[in-house]
Amino acid sequence: MNIELINSLTEKTLNIRKNIIRMITQAQSGHPGGSLSAVEILTYLYFKEMNIDLSNSKNPKRDRFVLSKGHAAPVLYAALAERGFFSADELLTLRKINSRLQGHPDMKGIPGVDMSTGSLGQGLSAAAGMALAGKIDGGDYRVFALLGDGELEEGQIWEAAMFAAHYKLNNLTIFIDFNGLQIDGSISEVLSPLPIPEKWRAFGWNVLEIDGHDLKEIHCAVQSAKGVLDKPTAIIATTIKGKCIRKMENAAEWHGKAPSISECEEFLFELSRGGL
């Protein structure tokens, strides 16, 4: 990746972060912490990696993305709007009555959402099903999914992990947003899913560990996964919950809390100052 591309993607991450704060403030509910931790990952996927078709969001040849940690819907909606699937104005309807932007993603409602999610643990199975369909048809699309680290406490994740490895779904690449926090506190205190890389390796996956806020590392990991012919890839992305807003960083209380109007202004100012 050259410097121009990195700068352009970084600019997108700033817009996406601002929109996450704006939409959650407007909704007065939602999940900012785990949305902000995944901004670089979604920015990379939607602006560099994924083959998607704005004119035909259901194009069967497209790459797919499943937000298994569906509560991070604001980062997905902000990325889709930034990419041009719908107007950024619509982001302010998040979680409101009659809005297409449901609290958790509804694939029937909005273009660009490949799977309805929200109940943790279920998205990886659906992503594996999409990848399996690609194998049956000899399609060359790839399937990406984003999982939370707390989400690894769900048993279904490990059923799907076994399945994807068994059927050698090398067209499936997942990110684990390893921010270390869940609603009730640190993942190691609530119910430790650690050590994460060893578990995925033991389940037969190709495992990569990166800094989830470093676009170059994300790029290298995604490209390297393409060279693996017999395994799905799990990219363990170490991230900071609430990334780029000091008050929110590494603070479990910002998992599912909306900023006040004054906090919103403070956070947007902080983002502008710390950004470009």
Partner: protein
């Protein structure tokens, strides 16, 4: 001839597999029992065993359907509707994905495996989910038709199938009409509305009652959802009393679906033949049906009771 609906399912699925290359089949380590092994033998490249993992079974099917495949997933009714309930609700029905859940070994007649494997709540669970269609075929030929319908219909379908052989009620010429009850016997004194393996038992009861001078209508309610309101209201108007008959709990299944229609449209006396809010146990199917009140004699008693309640 007698055949289990799961046997007919296995044959019908294999046949549909030849007609439609989009059909894929998934099973959770029970393919010999659910009879998906027949499809697996003919189309191994479109059959996937997910192992003993029913939540993932439902979730993978959702992903396959999201790409345009028509997945049929099978396991015992207990584990499909119970273990994978929330995956069926959130990953399949909420986005209205085109997944067919063909659940076998429903009801008490699983037999010797006992209560842990006897699903008597699945109709209730499945019919309460928005976007879901619920089918309970009564014999082999109706199962074959129901599977063909399910393959052609766009949306989630739950098909309840049994382990035990049931006598043929229909010929191969029979044509299944989704959402339309089938009147097997005309009658004017009361109506028996039955589903699944209880349909032939209901017919037997109506025949016994006929010898005693009663004229009893028998409706085969193969589609529990959407329920045939017209046929039920017409039966209430014309016969004045209804007995429901199901190998399922009396809570939330066919009896509840029929009662919902009656209470809103044309209330008449009603009696329910079904499992009376209790778990089953090990035993051979015939013994279980007797002990839990699901024989033709039980239906006869319920019909006489409901007729006595007519004003």
């Amino acid at each position: 001839m007698a055949k289990a609906t799961r046997e007919a399912y296995g044959e019908a699925l294999e046949k549909m597999g030849g007609l439609c290359s989009n059909i894929v089949v998934l099973d959770a380590d029970l393919s010999k029992s659910t009879k998906t092994c027949v499809f697996a033998k003919s189309y191994p490249e479109r059959f996937f065993n997910v192992g003993i993992a029913e939540q993932n079974l439902a979730g993978v099917a959702a992903g396959l359907a999201a790409t345009g495949k028509i997945p049929f997933i099978s396991t015992f009714a207990m584990f499909a509707s119970g273990r994978a309930y929330e995956q069926i609700r959130n990953s399949i029905c909420y986005p209205k994905l085109n997944v067919k859940i063909a659940a076998t070994h429903a009801g008490l007649t699983v037999g010797e495996d006992g209560a842990s494997h006897q699903s008597i709540e699945d109709i209730s669970l499945m019919r309460s989910i928005p976007n879901m269609t619920v089918l309970v075929p009564a014999d082999g030929n109706e199962t074959c038709q129901a599977i063909q319908f399910a393959a052609e219909y766009d949306g989630p379908v739950y098909i309840r199938l049994g382990r035990m052989a049931v006598p043929d009620l229909f010929t191969e010429e029979y044509r299944f009409k989704h959402g339309k009850a089938v009147c097997l016997v005309e009658g004017t004194d009361a109506t028996i509305a039955a589903t699944g393996i209880m349909v032939h038992i209901a017919k037997e009861a109506a025949e016994k009652l006929q010898t005693e001078g009663f004229s009893i209508r028998v409706l085969n309610i193969h589609t529990i959802k959407p329920i045939d309101k017209d046929a039920i209201v017409k039966a209430a108007e014309q016969t004045g009393a209804i007995v429901t008959c199901e190998e399922h709990s009396i809570i939330g299944g066919l009896s509840s679906a029929v009662a919902e229609v009656l209470v809103e449209n044309f209330p008449v006396p009603m009696e329910r033949v079904g499992v009376r809010d209790t778990f089953g146990e090990s035993g051979i199917p015939k013994e279980l049906l007797k002990k839990y009140g699901l024989t033709a004699d039980d239906v006869v008693l319920a019909v006489k009771k409901v007729i006595a309640r007519k004003a």
